[in-house]
């Protein structure tokens, strides 16, 4: 997995490429946690695979961001991965957490 970090108008964009799984999930988590910006965008356009550890980490970081009044956006999700995330209820959880980070 490769992470490219860009800064744009006070927002950090983390472009993730390759496979996000149990073996490297901590690397992306640390990168998200060390960003001081109010808005952090995770761009998954180059992501080929994500396992449940990756999904769990993204949701727990989103919860953390929303509870601080910050925003974690997850964008450009490839179609196959979007389908897997829909099955888990990923987008429903994000919607709920936006209004209630303690849900």
């Amino acid at each position: 997995m490769e992470i490219r970090v860009r800064q744009q108008k006070g927002m950090a964009i983390l472009e993730v490429e390759g496979e996000l799984d149990f073996s490297n999930v901590d690397q992306l988590q640390q990168e998200i946690q060390r960003r001081p910006e109010e808005v952090v965008e995770i761009d998954l356009q180059g992501l080929r695979f994500i396992d449940s550890s990756g999904v769990g980490m993204l949701l727990s970081q989103a919860r953390h961001f929303f509870s601080q009044g910050r925003t974690l956006k997850i964008v450009n999700i490839p179609d196959l991965i979007r389908e897997d995330l829909e099955v888990i209820g990923f987008f429903q959880v994000l919607e709920v957490l936006k209004t209630n980070p303690n849900a």
Binding site: D21, F22, R48, F49, D51, S52, S53, V55, G56, M57, L59, S60, L80, D84, V87, I88, G89, Q92, V93, V96, N102, A103
Partner: protein, 241 residues
């Protein structure tokens, strides 16, 4: 209910129903599980699930969820209540570890022939009836992601003799061969359709054999778990256990 357990395989015979399931871990102990649980003399639950992560950690959480599931069924066997309660008690354990679990719960009534389904973030089951396949629509959020279970509720079907239901984990449809293409839903639905008339155990073996043909022995990233249930008699017939 008669259940025969051999290694990672289980075969069920009860309530005008036959069931066959197996779980193939990817390299090491995984977080997939399945269960046949007898509730009373007319009801059987079939459950499939996948706890986030790999190895000992996921396996330990999976055992906790299995234990809690049985307890939830004992307290109140209504399928939606089982999942709601499991999300409360099991979800707490999962959240403590920063984990979640997907689960699909089926409840079959041997007297009425009714099948109830509740889903918590799992791939929906496939129904095979009169040679036609249908994907169950019910959806829901995986256990442990929200404090209160959120889903589309209970979906019910009336099953006739010869009808079958297939449950599976993501490792099956996401399995890859030497190329990057996945085994996928479409191929699974087609192989299920071709199994009309076969027994539950034969269906399971044929699906796994087709998966092996597709993957050509290529090592997989995730566990593969498959459960097939088939109705063997007409509803209303006397139920024996």
């Amino acid at each position: 209910m008669i259940e025969v357990i051999t290694g990672n395989e289980k075969i069920l015979s009860a309530y005008r129903l036959e069931g066959s399931g197996c779980s193939l871990p990817a390299g090491q102990v995984g977080g997939d599980f399945f269960e046949f649980i007898s509730c009373d003399k007319r009801t059987v639950f079939a459950v499939i699930g996948d706890v986030m992560g790999k190895g000992f950690h996921a396996a330990r959480l999976m055992e906790t969820i299995r234990h809690m599931l049985r307890e939830c069924i004992r307290v109140n066997p209504h399928p939606l209540e089982v999942v709601r309660r499991l999300n409360k008690v099991g979800g707490y354990e999962l959240r403590k570890c920063g984990a979640f679990a997907t689960l699909c719960l089926l409840c079959y009534d041997g007297i009425t022939g009714r099948l109830s389904c509740v889903n918590a973030g799992h791939h929906p089951p496939i129904l095979l009836s009169d040679g036609e396949v249908k994907v169950v629509r019910c959806r829901g959020v995986a256990l442990g992601l929200l404090e209160d279970y959120l889903g589309s509720g209970v979906e019910e079907f009336s099953l006739a003799a010869g009808d079958a239901v297939v449950l599976y984990t993501d490792g099956l449809v996401e399995a890859c061969g030497p190329g990057e293409q996945r085994y996928g839903q479409e191929r699974l639905r087609e192989i299920v359709r071709l199994q009309y008339g076969a027994g539950a155990d034969r269906m399971k073996k044929n699906i796994l054999s087709d998966l092996e043909t597709f993957t050509r022995g290529f090592p997989q990233k995730d566990d593969v778990t498959l459960v097939v249930m088939k109705v063997t008699g007409k509803a209303g017939e006397r139920v024996g256990d």
